[in-house]
C-alpha cells in the first residue's frame, strides 16, 4: 500500500526526519511509536502533502506521493486524521462530517453519513451541535468520522487516544481494530505503547529521526530494550 524509503524532512533547515523507511501492507495496522518531538506528526504531514519532503521516496498504491498537494493525496485515498483533531469548531457535527467527503466519495455521502452515525450513535444525537462545543471524546469521534467519510484506502491516525479517559481509550482501540477488520489498513501514531502494540500487526519505533527498531508488534512488546526505554520496566 504505502512504501516510504529514505525520507528526509524538517522545518527551515532543522532536519527532523533523517531517512525514514517504513511500509504498510494491505490489511495491516502499523503502529508508529516514539517519544515526544521525535517527528511522528512531521512524518504524517509529509505523507499528506502539507509539508514538503527534502529527500526520499513515498509510494502509495504504486504511485509517488512526492509533489502532490494535500487535495491530491486525499483524492488518492490516503486520509490523515490529525493530532489535535483539527475539526471545524464553528460548524455543526453534520457539516464537519459532510466536509469529510468534500474531495472524495461525495456521491456516497448520504450512505457514509449513515455508516458513521451507526459507528458513533453519539454523533447522530448531536448532529446539529457546533463541533467546538463537544467534549474531547466526541470531538475525536468527529475527527475519525470525518476521515471515514472519504472512504479511505489507508487511514493515518495521529494520537487518537490523546486526552481520552481510560474507558474511552479502550473503546478507541476497539474501534480501530473493528475498522481494520472491515479491511481498512491503518497507520496508528501513538504514545500509548502497550495498547498500540496489542492492536497492531507490526510496529516502528522512531528515534533521532530514523527507525531504530521495527518488527512484529508481539515480538517488540517482549523486546527488553523497548520495555526498558518506553515502559520503564
Amino acid at each position: 500500500m504505502l512504501e516510504v524509503r529514505g525520507l528526509r524532512a524538517g522545518y527551515g533547515g532543522v532536519e527532523v526526519l533523517r531517512g525514514i523507511d517504513l511500509s504498510v501492507k494491505a490489511g495491516e495496522i502499523i503502529a508508529v511509536l516514539g517519544s515526544n518531538g521525535v517527528g511522528k506528526t512531521t512524518l504524517n504531514k509529509v505523507l499528506s502533502g502539507v509539508l514538503a519532503a527534502d529527500a526520499g521516496e513515498m509510494m502509495f498504491d504504486g504511485r509517488p506521493l512526492q509533489g502532490l498537494s494535500p487535495a491530491e493525496v486525499v483524492e488518492a485515498g490516503l486520509i490523515h486524521v490529525p493530532e489535535g483533531r483539527k475539526i471545524f469548531p464553528n460548524m455543526s457535527v453534520r457539516e464537519n462530517l459532510e466536509l469529510g467527503s468534500y474531495r472524495r466519495a461525495r456521491r456516497n455521502r448520504a450512505a457514509n453519513l449513515e455508516k458513521v452515525y451507526a459507528t458513533f450513535p453519539r454523533l447522530r444525537e448531536r448532529m446539529g451541535q457546533a463541533a467546538g462545543t463537544l467534549s474531547g471524546g466526541e470531538q475525536q469521534m468527529v475527527a475519525i468520522g470525518r476521515g471515514m467519510m472519504a472512504e479511505p484506502r489507508l487511514l493515518i491516525l495521529d494520537e487518537p487516544s490523546l486526552g481520552l479517559s481510560p474507558l474511552l481509550v479502550e473503546e478507541m482501540f476497539a474501534l480501530i481494530q473493528r475498522l481494520n477488520a472491515e479491511g481498512l489498513p491503518i497507520m496508528l501514531v501513538e504514545q500509548n505503547v502497550v495498547q498500540s502494540l496489542e492492536a497492531a500487526t507490526r510496529a516502528y519505533i522512531i528515534e533521532n529521526g530514523i527507525v531504530a527498531l521495527s518488527g512484529e508488534a508481539r515480538a517488540l512488546a517482549a523486546d527488553p530494550a523497548l520495555r526498558r526505554a518506553y515502559l520503564g520496566l
Binding site: 499528506s48 502533502g49 502539507v50 498537494s69 494535500p70 487535495a71 486525499v74 483524492e75 486520509i79 490523515h80 486524521v81 490529525p82 483533531r85 483539527k86 475539526i87 471545524f88 469548531p89 464553528n90 460548524m91 457539516e95 459532510e98 466536509l99 469529510g100 468534500y102 474531495r103 472524495r104 461525495r106 470525518r146 472519504a150
Partner: protein
C-alpha cells in the same frame, strides 16, 4: 417636533440606504472572517464597480439593474484573480503583508481611475430616478426600494451559498481551521480567492444599486468603506447577520441624525455610535464575545 409620518419616512429611507451599506459591509466582513485581514482595496473596488456601471449605462445604454448579473460575474473574476495571482503570492502568507498589498492595490486602482476619468463627479439618469412609491401616507423612492429588495435577495443568496453548498461550507471551514481543511482536500488558496471574489461580487451589486441614487468619482468608495467598516465592527468582525443588522441600523441612525440635526451631521451619528461600540462592546453588538 417632527410629525410622525416624517420620522417614519426618514426611518424607512434609512433602512433602504442601510441595506446597500449592508451589502458593502458584507463583502468586507466575509473577507475579514476568512482571510483575517481588512481589505484596504474594498473601497477602490467599489469605485471601480461604480465606474463600470456608469460606463455600461452611458456607452451601452444598459439599465443598471440589468447590468447586475453581468457585472457580478466580472467582478467575481477580478476579485478571484486579484487574490490568487497578486495578493496571495505577493504576501507570502504574512497577514501584515496582505494589508500592505491591498493598500497598494487600492492606490493603484484609484490612480488608474483618476487618470482615466479625472476627478469629475459623474451621474447616470434613469426614468425612475424620481419615481416614488406610496405606502399609506409615506412616499418612498422607487430606486431605493429596488436597492433594498435586491440587497435583501443578494444577502439571502450569499447566506444560502455559505450554509448549503460545499464551496460555502469550505469557506467557513477555512475561516477557522486551515490545516483541517487541507486534510479533507480543500484547496485553501482556491477558497481564499473564491472568498475575495465573492467580496468583489457583492460590491458590483452594490454599485448597480447605488448608481441610480448616487454619483461616482475616483474617491467615492472611501466614504462608503468607512461606513462599512463601522458596520463590520458594530456587527462583530466576520459576522454576516451582524453586517446585515448593523447596516440597517447605521442607515437609520444616519437618516434620523440627518433629520434632527441637519444633513451635514448625518454621518456624525454613525461615528458617535462607532466610538461608543468600541468603548462599551468591542466585540460588536451582535458578535460573539471573544
Amino acid at each position: 417636533m417632527y410629525s410622525l409620518p416624517i420620522v417614519l419616512e426618514a426611518t424607512l429611507n434609512g433602512l433602504l440606504t442601510g441595506a446597500i451599506y449592508a451589502l458593502v459591509a458584507l463583502g468586507l466582513t466575509l473577507v475579514y472572517g476568512v482571510l483575517h485581514i481588512i481589505n484596504f482595496a474594498h473601497g477602490a473596488f467599489l469605485t471601480a464597480a461604480m465606474f463600470a456601471v456608469w460606463m455600461a449605462v452611458t456607452f451601452l445604454g444598459v439599465d443598471p439593474y440589468v447590468a447586475i448579473p453581468f457585472l457580478t460575474i466580472v467582478f467575481f473574476a477580478i476579485g478571484y484573480g486579484a487574490q490568487r495571482f497578486v495578493i496571495g503570492p505577493a504576501s507570502h502568507g504574512d497577514d501584515g503583508n496582505i494589508l500592505l498589498v491591498t493598500l497598494g492595490l487600492s492606490i493603484v486602482i484609484e490612480n488608474i481611475l483618476l487618470a482615466v476619468f479625472r476627478a469629475d463627479t459623474r451621474t447616470i439618469t434613469t426614468d425612475y430616478a424620481f419615481e416614488v412609491v406610496e405606502i399609506g401616507p409615506l412616499l418612498i423612492s422607487q430606486a431605493r426600494l429596488y436597492g433594498f429588495l435586491a440587497a435583501v435577495v443578494v444577502s439571502g443568496l450569499l447566506w444560502g451559498l455559505l450554509t448549503r453548498t460545499d464551496t460555502g461550507k469550505a469557506i467557513r471551514a477555512v475561516a477557522k481551521e486551515k490545516l483541517g481543511a487541507s486534510l479533507v482536500g480543500i484547496d485553501v488558496r482556491h477558497i481564499y480567492a473564491v472568498t475575495f471574489g465573492l467580496g468583489c461580487a457583492t460590491l458590483a451589486v452594490a454599485a448597480c444599486l447605488l448608481m441610480p441614487i448616487f454619483y461616482v468619482n475616483p474617491r467615492v468608495g472611501q466614504a462608503f468603506v468607512l461606513v462599512a467598516f463601522t458596520i463590520v465592527v458594530l456587527g462583530g468582525m466576520g459576522s454576516i447577520p451582524g453586517a446585515l443588522a448593523g447596516g440597517l441600523f447605521i442607515g437609520v441612525v444616519e437618516s434620523l441624525t440627518g433629520l434632527f440635526f441637519g444633513d451635514s451631521l448625518g454621518q456624525i451619528g454613525i461615528f458617535i455610535i462607532f466610538i461608543l461600540v468600541l468603548l462599551l462592546r468591542p466585540s460588536g453588538l451582535f458578535g460573539a464575545r471573544a
